[in-house]
Symmetry: D2
Subunit: 89 residues, 4 copies
Amino acid sequence: MHRKDDYLKRLRRIEGQARGLQRMVEDEKYCIDILTQVSAMTKALQSVALGLLEEHMSHCVVDAARAGGREADEKIREASEAIARLVRS
Amino acid sequence: MHRKDDYLKRLRRIEGQARGLQRMVEDEKYCIDILTQVSAMTKALQSVALGLLEEHMSHCVVDAARAGGREADEKIREASEAIARLVRS
Amino acid sequence: MHRKDDYLKRLRRIEGQARGLQRMVEDEKYCIDILTQVSAMTKALQSVALGLLEEHMSHCVVDAARAGGREADEKIREASEAIARLVRS
Amino acid sequence: MHRKDDYLKRLRRIEGQARGLQRMVEDEKYCIDILTQVSAMTKALQSVALGLLEEHMSHCVVDAARAGGREADEKIREASEAIARLVRS
């Protein structure tokens, strides 16, 4: 995996956002402010997902395509299902 | 493009949904019922997008990967941007 | 319904986008360009939905709240379900 | 805030998911499996957001509507903006 340290850094920040949200709920902060933080955290998470997906396509999918055979079809079906889950989540 | 007739059929149905929504607004139907139809139409549209994307990866991306060179990277970057737009829309 | 003419104008434009997409598929335009149009159309549709939802809350929900009784709870539950469908579509 | 303990429990679970994702990246798990977890975490987060939003409307919006004056309009505009951020994230 390329950019592993970058993903770890971003996921640690997302973990921190989850803790920050707990504090906001604990302190009964204003709902709309909590929702703004949830949206920011969701965006950060989607951004990690899009990075992982691009990397997956650049490596697994391209390698499978170059190896020939049915492997590439399987990889693409699998990636498409992951994309569908992201779009619908 | 494979499944061209299938896409055309689905897009004609989506066009019909857009007309149905106009009738609902014209007749001042209940807002929540209009929103239910908007959600159904959005899902139908996302489903066409996911189909086109899978097809694009199966053909353009795989062909570029097999041809070798930098072409595959460019195709994947382009597909990733399209996925990001879908996820965020 | 306030802003009825505005919604109708936007929905007619969305209907036009659905026809434009059919032409793009018919002419076998580049997949990524078709996907860009699908994202634009999805955004336009979501924007109509958000407008309708705001209007619904300003009128139905507020009126129900002012009328007192359990009616407001029912309206809010219904609006929440509509929002959940939008978020997940 | 009603259901505070429920939100805290769900947010702690989401924090745990963020840590689980870090372990998966650390161990270089298969990208598609990581993406599946990201989608599950996003859904859990959206579900917290939808709960908070429903609660906000049931209390702040309804109270403002009953109090009369322009306060309700302001609350609804604010809630609509929060919904737009959720739909687009």
